[in-house]
Symmetry: D2
Subunit: 162 residues, 4 copies
């Protein structure tokens, strides 16, 4: 794990796809949360980050692990609009909930991306059952390491608070 | 080769990227032309078709072989606009000329795609030095077979007319 | 996990490579043990099983997880002799300890392979800190699932007995 | 092509597999010959060289292109005996003819490997229809380039002599 334990900032979003009831981190308390922060025109997100997030979604039980996508547009804003994102999610068969990170009119980075101090995309964030951020990986993390990190958080148990 | 020899229909386009002087098939007479027909949100195009076209562009001499991309939007029109395409080409480091296939107000397929009878994307078209269409591959074609097909057309020689 | 908890049969071996002090399962008590059962001329072992075992060896701390190779020759005995295996391990840069499963003069399968009821190679066996067999995967298991399974055993803790 | 045109040295061999009638380069005159020089315990041969040779064998017509394997043992001689090679060819489903390069009692390299001046394995040699060596690639060559090189030799035509 690459980060000290601290509460995860709330998600600030403008749109949600693949969900009738947009989730919040507070509402997901009790589950491990895996956030895949991406941009639809980021080659590393398309070839590695998102396929890995799909594997996490397919491997772990939804009662233990929630997977969320977060579309953090910090470049090519007009090219990566919610309309384009919706078609992208359809074509790439992404089934887990995906949010659009809320733009900040006064800054280049969208709000959640800035609050998390992300350096770019893809970034994978792990949040424990108590709502604390426990890891944040910019770029590539292996499936073996990620599987181990997720299970370590699962095994802390639902009753544990930090 | 999967098609009988016949003249290749002209390209009907609305935009060009990566070129100051939009090419025409007539102007490319004397060279073998490889056309990669794709959509920017088509997963098979992104993972296989376009990387293969890049390898063709990097492997063969430009005086023998011209590589062109053709953005044939037949679905998700609003999501795959020229603005989005431009960002896509930048992010995916596509350096060869790419055209937008001209939409047809009265039909679902764009004009060049329809004229070539393409069944979908990715489709790879091979045109010989005399301007005749010699092969059209829908879906996957191996690099070994494609390298052989291109060389067969190169070796027909510039003086040959059909 | 695909198997009920039960003590792992002891390893019956004739040779060890990559170790000055041949390990025993009893001696490894307190650690999670990952056994990669393979044959050097088994294509699936070479392309998937052994590279995965190398990743496990490189990813987890040796104080928590011991990785062992077990050469279970049940076909092509003359072709897969210890002399050939030694060269194989050198060429494939396999650094963890590897044993030769003891042949059984009266049966086609070597002794440890038979005791574990393995169906073929590659087979990956997981043994917990208490020396109990907890999983046995014949064929492919994903890195994500394996990483999670190993961590689940690590987190049971050294003091736990079963 | 990386080499000047010159006649290919004859193959000096001790064993042949996958053929009832061991071929000679003279007997293959009129066809393009692709020789994959390998060692069965060479990881790059197993993961890249031999699979590529299989693709060549499956892609081109046998009347135009002959594919031969050549087992050039220059290290681990005892480990890579003909007995081990035979099991290897079976397990890896290699169907084209494979020869064992003749050892030279007075030198470390086997005879054909030395005559061709090979630097190691895998090495891929291309011989034209007239029996002249036209290319020799040590290490990786892309499928696209190889497909083009083979077709260039095919198109020289059976009547052409050099």
């Amino acid at each position: 794990m690459s980060q000290k334990t601290r509460p995860a900032p709330p998600l600030e979003t403008t749109h949600w796809f693949n969900t009738a009831a947009p989730p919040t981190l507070d509402g997901l308390r009790g589950r491990v949360v895996v956030i895949e922060a991406f941009q639809m025109l980021c080659p590393g997100c398309v070839s590695h980050g998102l396929p890995q997030a799909k594997r996490v979604f397919e491997t772990f039980n939804g009662t233990d692990v929630a997977v969320l996508g977060l579309h953090c547009v910090f470049e090519h804003h007009e090219a990566q609009s919610p309309v384009s994102l919706e078609a992208f999610l359809h074509e790439y068969r992404i089934a887990f909930p995906v949010a659009v990170d809320a733009p900040d009119a006064s800054a280049p980075l969208p709000r959640t991306m800035a609050a998390y101090g992300m350096q770019g995309t893809p970034t994978l964030v792990l949040i424990d059952r108590a709502g604390h951020r426990r890891a944040q990986h910019f770029g590539h993390v292996t499936d073996l390491k990620l599987g181990a990190e997720i299970m370590a958080l699962i095994r802390e148990g639902p009753a544990e608070t930090r």
